[in-house]
Symmetry: C2
């Protein structure tokens, strides 16, 4: 079992390097929150406030945020903050009463989808959305078997964790397939490979009696290390899933809300239409809201035998925030920015990488970039230690990123969408300094 | 299978009674949200704003809220609204960075618990909290079997729905036991009955190989129809659970945060200490926050083999709201108000009921009251139709309540905690008018 390096594990061996307020808060935190809570970095970041693409520490320093996709339109965006404050002062209740904003938001959100995806059910998180999508898919197909990629992460409820092999999950009703890896694919035909593996997994599930309910895919394969090329490669596997009577569930927690720039949704880059779409993270710019968009006949059937009600889901405050997010993406042209600044970023990363043999690959789409470290460019053997050293060195230069992928060997660069060329320049300069050090 | 009456099902047969804006919004809602979404009342309420114990409709009318426990310290409480607005403008991120408010809140919350319950893990909802508590309990005991009461509701994720027989769930690893029903108990010894039934269920789970992980109890038995007397009756069953090596999981989504007035937590009324405590609803006055408070050694073991991270859980905005809730409960003495106004309410309900043979029982604790309708006081046969008629008649008098219990025969009166004697008087007057009608 490969494990990601524990970026997020505080190492008490380094406690002496921390300032007194940080040490004191970590001690209180460990007492109250317990062993389950991890922190990023050898030297955790103690945050005070944040704005746009910057996070300000208690230490008085500012940190460039090149990592967080939750504050997708920028930390504490004034328009989102105003929407939250106004709605919180006016009405915050549940969906068994009628109110406007949940419908206004639902319609605005659905307008970004193909017409077949005509209903939305709200949740409080991406995990609850995955959990609901699995319930709907199993109800519709009357089958249990789910297929996911080998290092996928789809959430933290019991059912979502079961389809998250990156967290060590295994289950007789789950099958895993190799995620597309364009960098290590000999012929570059990642779509055909994925389709073949999924076909075999479907056979296996059917033979073992679990049946086939669906395939869950993060459309940018974030936990699997980011694979976005070539656009269109999900078409074959979509056909395989449909022919076998299963549902295609697109997890857009990472790829959605304009992250890839060219399309609002990651699946749209591939020219496919899923049956159910799971969303979360970027949806409310940090407010807890998630959802499942899908074909109404699936929800109709689910509603016949299940009474689903989620108290906080679709509440006016979170919907007001989420509606403001869509408005800001449009009014500030953040998708165009994601394309332009994303291209600038990847070009700069590729230029920077050229003299360094420890960088094997630069990849991505829009403002989601990966930089993979290897021990040797010909064998492409992953180098997690170099990536981790780089992340911690960047943190010390007050630039926030992390790693991803099955080997933890790939830098995960995934900033708020208003990221600028100047911010890219600063990131590249700092990364260059780190590369000469490690 | 008994089913609650569909209070929350919009009946198109009554569409002609609705005003045009309401009809139009319902049509848009059905198109966007689909068949899974239900509404309260034959004539749904179209909400515009809310304040304290009042909800204001689009129709310009005001509705007395005698039902909603989520806006626990009052709709749009100014102190909570201010906390949300300030924090949203300052910082909203996740717990892999350090920040103050999540720790301040965790410590303040834990101070309301017995010392053995020394850790808290945050979630976005009560459902996620139940789901996490089940994972922790199963991990600790290495057993699968869970016992719940026959009409319990503990949440909406796949795992939480599995322990929610009120929604029709069944599973080989779940056993149900009769909920305490003081009103229908011949000798009033509901504690011994419950303990005996649980002991038998434990044997059954062990015999069938599922093993015994724990007993999940709503400490006020809300979905089971509200059973709070006699205080202390959970002691026997706690001993049975412990002796069998299982965990006691208290669901405080209904009974917690001062609802019963005399104690902050429902379990405390019974003089017991659970192993894990699930909370949600009232926690953030409408903001999506839930949590599991428990004994740290349980979380320690869970953390060794599971990497649990919940993006939105413990975020600064929801924690700021939740901290303000605890401060308001204290500064406005809402628990004392719950005792005083709750007693006044139950006395008034009992006085009102006396001439009406269709009312079989008035019960409750603090500001959670039940009024059970029967067909005959001697047989105590439940009368759901009368309860439902009463709820719809009260809605037409602009008083919001609902029903509860296995038969749907009990009025569920569960207002925000700042409920007043004047509000009780209005409720009683209106209820009296309804009783003469039905």
């Amino acid at each position: 079992m490969t494990q990601k390096p524990l970026l997020n594990s505080f190492n008490p061996g380094n406690a002496n390097e921390l300032d007194a307020p940080t040490k004191a808060l970590i001690a209180r935190r460990q007492r109250a929150l317990g062993a389950g809570y991890r922190l990023f970095y050898e030297r955790p970041v103690y945050a005070e406030r944040a704005e746009g693409i910057w996070l300000y520490g208690k230490d008085g320093e500012r940190y460039l945020d090149a990592y967080n996709n939750v504050p997708s339109v920028g930390h504490c965006h004034p328009r989102v903050v105003e929407a939250i404050a106004k709605q919180a002062a006016k009405l915050n209740t549940h969906t068994r009463y009628l109110f406007d904003v949940v419908i206004d938001y639902a319609e605005t959100l659905l307008a970004t989808f193909p017409p077949d995806l005509d209903n939305v059910m709200f949740t409080c998180s991406g995990s609850e959305a995955t959990d609901l999508a699995l319930r709907v898919a199993r109800d519709f197909t009357q089958a249990e078997g789910i297929i996911v990629t080998r290092h996928a992460y789809h959430g933290t409820t019991a059912a979502a964790a079961e389809v998250s092999p990156s967290r060590g999950a295994t289950s007789p009703r789950i099958r895993t397939v190799g995620a597309p890896d364009f960098y290590r694919s000999p012929d570059g035909n990642v779509g055909a490979q994925l389709a073949e593996e999924v076909a075999r997994a479907i056979d296996s599930l059917k033979k073992d009696g679990a049946g086939f309910a669906g395939l869950v895919l993060d459309t940018v394969f974030s936990s699997d290390g980011l694979c976005v090329e070539p656009a269109g490669f999900l078409r074959d596997v979509t056909d395989v899933v449909r022919a076998a009577g299963g549902l295609l569930i697109a997890d857009e927690v990472q790829g959605g809300f304009g992250r890839t720039g060219s399309h609002m949704w990651g699946f749209a880059r591939h020219g496919i239409v899923p049956d159910l779409v799971v969303m979360g993270k970027a949806m409310g710019n940090g407010m807890p809201i998630g959802g499942v968009v899908g074909k109404s006949h699936l929800f109709d059937k689910f509603g016949k035998s299940n009474r689903y009600f989620n108290t906080f889901a679709g509440n006016p405050v979170c919907c007001a925030a989420a509606l403001a997010v869509l408005e800001v993406i449009e009014s500030e042209q953040l998708m165009a920015n994601s394309v332009a600044v994303g291209n600038y970023l990847r070009t700069a990363l590729a230029d920077l990488a050229r003299p360094y043999p420890q960088i094997g690959d630069v990849r991505g789409a829009g403002l989601f970039a990966g930089v993979e470290f290897v021990k040797d460019q010909s064998t492409r053997q992953p180098n997690a230690a170099a990536a981790l050293a780089c992340v911690n060195a960047l943190r010390d230069k007050r630039i926030l990123i992390s790693t991803m992928g099955p080997y933890g060997s790939t830098l995960k660069i995934r900033p708020p969408l208003p990221f600028t060329r100047e911010a890219v320049d600063l990131l590249i300069k700092s990364l260059g300094e780190c590369l000469t050090q490690i």
